[in-house]
């Protein structure tokens, strides 16, 4: 087993090396070199991840301890990398999808200056490094380091075109939202250290019975706050749609391979804690479900191609949290995986479309791209089918597993979840139809410019499309093929502890079939309706009214946050600045100065230079001393 662990550290170190080379040499490297280095390190990391995966598959899991990170009597935190089934799955997703996105980026970002190009790849590598560190970390602190690194990189990449103020604001928003969540995570770590004195996953999970219910609930809720920030759940989800400000491959990376899955990973990793805190599970499920629905409704009316995808990501993440909340950890991880495939595919496809449209992102100006971009069209269609949950595409299996588990927990969850799935199908095919079907609605110049993207972009699309089609087949439900759910069997050791406690409501096979049929049928209905309605879409001049307008404005959540959080904070800050700072603190400081000034000016009058006065004062002084000495 040792040979595996001699190599594991290379997986995060390679992207770090790529980051350093590209970052430091950005002024000297040519674009080709930067691209090769940036993609190459990820590719090698992917190969290593494959090796690790097969090694893990043979039951080879362990924690590699490299050096002591913090070593004080009360607390010992090692720089540990943990390799187990969950980690190896995430390693494959991150490096695999990440590699495809890197390759895609070499073409997509080709118009940038060489310096910016190399900078872009260095950020991308740093992003992958942080995410790998996150999933490899053997304790919460290492995880947190990766967690913070991911937040930083998202800031850097969303604000990559930093000359645009709006993009900078989006980057800042992402960073601040993440910080709010990170605070929760940090508090949870402190709580753990306080109660258990360790942050090692193995020690924490082994000693979990020592924690009181209150502690577990508190810790898990705080961890979940961290997850809502990172994985864009209510109430901290608004940064993710704004994160579209970054280059499209970055969006793909954030949405598919890295960043947003961090929250899922962390909760899946801490599954035993969550299983022991039913209150938190309910909270997670409800938050996930409401996020799924809310984001789906918003996505119905968005016209920006990337915004639709962004809200669909938020919605899909909501499903994953629903899965975590109802104890379907495998389902959640499964959905992370399939989602990584089709969401990366969709984003890259959207990037390809935007590339062809010379930066145009408004779907109302697209249409009929089918005949110009055959590969993009086909792969995009596959991605849409996958996310809509149509069998036998990947999304069907994972989503169905989550919904099945939700039904087992509470049929209401299932009902709402299916409604969300319907909306998913609807808005995805609205997107598809508006973009690829019908007549072209853009300007003539744009029409002349339309072209299929270069191979560096289409090949990743094809690979991802294949994965989006077959990716679900590793988790075929038990009722179709006995032993078909290979992923569950693979991940079982990780979730064994949690699953042992969970009360499993086994569904009858009939029920399960029925649920599948219902969800697929409803999704198909929504799909066909959207196809029909939007394939002949014409630009509507009139403004949306009523609910449509509310949806178009994203339920006014940004405005709501602005009104209930930002504005009061700002007014408090103004108040503090004007009153407390200027009058209180400044007043105190200046007051001391003024008092000294004033009193010294008064006392100075005593220093008249008149010898007589001095003598008089001297005599008075002597007098006082006499009186004190003699009578007091």
């Amino acid at each position: 087993m040792n040979n595996v662990f001699q190599l594991v550290w290379l997986i995060p170190m390679l992207p770090l090396a790529g980051f350093l080379i590209n970052g430091l040499g950005r002024k000297h490297l040519s674009k080709t070199m930067a691209g090769i280095i940036g993609s190459g390190v990820i590719f090698i990391a992917f190969l290593l991840s494959l090796y690790v995966f097969f090694s893990v598959k043979n039951g080879n899991t362990d924690v590699a301890h490299y050096f002591d990170f913090i070593n004080i009597p009360a607390l010992k935190i090692g720089f540990d990398l943990q390799v187990d089934q969950l980690t190896s799955i995430f390693l494959l997703i991150i490096t695999g999808v990440g590699f495809l996105i890197h390759v895609y980026s070499t073409a997509y970002m080709h118009d940038e200056e060489p310096k910016d190009f190399a900078k872009y790849f260095s950020f991308l590598n740093l992003f992958v490094f942080s995410m790998l560190l996150l999933v490899l970390g053997g304790n919460y602190v290492i995880l947190f380091m990766g967690w913070e690194g991911v937040g930083l990189c998202s800031y850097l990449l969303i604000g990559f075109w930093f000359k645009n103020t709006n993009y900078n604001n989006a980057a800042r928003k992402a960073f601040i939202m993440n910080r709010i969540g990170d605070l929760g995570f940090l508090l949870a770590i402190f709580w753990l250290v306080n109660k258990l004195g360790t942050v090692d996953f193995r020690d924490v999970f082994a000693n979990v019975s020592k924690l009181s219910t209150f502690d577990i609930t508190g810790i898990t809720l705080l961890l979940f706050v961290g997850a809502t920030g990172k994985s864009a759940q209510i109430p901290l989800y608004t940064w993710l749609p704004d994160a579209m400000a970054g280059p499209t491959p970055v969006s793909a990376l954030i949405h598919a391979a890295t960043m947003v899955t961090a929250g899922i990973y962390m909760i899946a990793r801490s599954n035993i804690l969550y299983t022991m805190a039913p209150v938190t599970q309910t909270v997670v499920a409800i938050v996930g479900l409401s996020t799924a629905i809310l984001a789906a409704t918003i996505a119905l009316k968005q016209n920006d191609i990337k915004k639709v995808l962004a809200y669909s990501t938020v919605s899909q993440l909501g499903y994953m949290f629903l899965g975590l909340g109802v104890g379907a950890y495998t389902g959640a991880v499964f959905h992370v995986m399939t989602h990584a495939f089709f969401k990366a595919l969709l984003f890259l496809g959207a990037g390809s479309v935007i590339h062809a449209m010379s930066g145009e992102q408004d779907m109302r100006n697209m249409g009929g791209l089918k005949k110009y971009m055959r590969i993009t069209h086909l792969t995009f269609l596959l991605g849409c089918l996958a996310i809509a949950g149509i069998p036998p595409f990947a999304g069907f299996f994972s989503k169905d597993e989550i919904l099945g588990a939700a039904f087992a927990k509470n049929p209401l969850y299932y009902g709402i979840g299916v409604a969300g799935a319907m909306m998913t199908a609807f808005y995805m095919f609205r997107l598809y139809a508006m973009t690829f079907l019908g007549k072209f609605r853009g300007t003539i110049e744009q029409e002349h410019h339309l072209h299929e993207s270069p191979r560096a972009m289409t090949i990743p699309l094809i690979v991802l499309a294949i994965l989006a089609v077959i990716g679900g087949w590793i988790g075929i439900p038990e009722i179709f093929v006995h032993g078909g759910h290979k992923l569950e069997a693979f991940l079982d050791p990780v979730f064994a502890q949690g699953n042992a406690i969970t009360v499993k409501n086994e569904l009858a096979h009939n029920t399960e079939y029925m649920l599948m049929v219902i969800s697929v049928a409803l999704a198909l209905v929504a799909l066909l309706y959207a196809w029909k309605k939007f394939s002949a879409y014409q630009k509507a001049e009139k403004e949306e009214a009523g609910l449509g307008k509310v949806l178009e404005n994203k339920w006014y959540v940004d405005e709501l946050y602005d009104a209930i959080i930002v504005k009061p904070l700002r007014s408090i800050a103004t108040y503090l600045n004007n009153v407390v700072e200027k009058k209180g603190i400044d007043g105190m400081v200046n007051g001391v100065g003024k008092a000294v000034n004033y009193s010294s000016r008064q006392i100075r009058l005593l220093q008249s230079g008149q010898v007589g006065t001095y003598v008089l004062l001297m005599v008075i002084g002597i007098l006082v001393l006499f009186i004190v000495q003699l009578f007091l």
């Binding site: 220093q607 230079g609 008149q610 010898v611 007589g612 003598v615 008089l616 005599v619």
Partner: protein, 110 residues
């Protein structure tokens, strides 16, 4: 005579000297008041020496009595030296300012 009369006399002279210093502006008068205060102290010393001379202790140690008077002698010596220097300063000051007003000497202020 009881010692209290002598002490009272010396204190009275001393305080007259102080009042003089405080109320007058002429440097020479102030200087004279200082001399008056010195003399008050001298008188007190002599009176105390004679008080001790009447006691048994004074008779046993005659040096104790004459010491005080030697002290007075030295005070006079120092006073004489002080006066010579002090008057020289006043004269110099008068030559510069054509006044002996101490308030002219408020250069200390700056």
């Amino acid at each position: 005579m009881e010692i209290r009369y002598y002490i009272s006399l010396a204190v009275a002279l001393f305080c007259i000297g102080i009042i003089g210093v405080l109320t007058r502006r002429n440097a020479i008068i102030i200087f004279m008041c200082v001399e008056l205060m010195l003399n008050a102290v001298n008188l007190l010393l002599v009176a105390f020496s004679k008080m001790h001379a009447a006691t048994a202790m004074g008779k046993a140690f005659p040096g104790m009595v004459s010491d005080a008077q030697i002290f007075v002698f030295f005070i006079m010596v120092v006073a004489a030296a002080e006066v010579s220097v002090g008057l020289a300063i006043i004269v110099m000051m008068y030559r510069n300012t054509h006044s002996t007003d101490v308030n002219f000497l408020n250069r200390l202020k700056n």
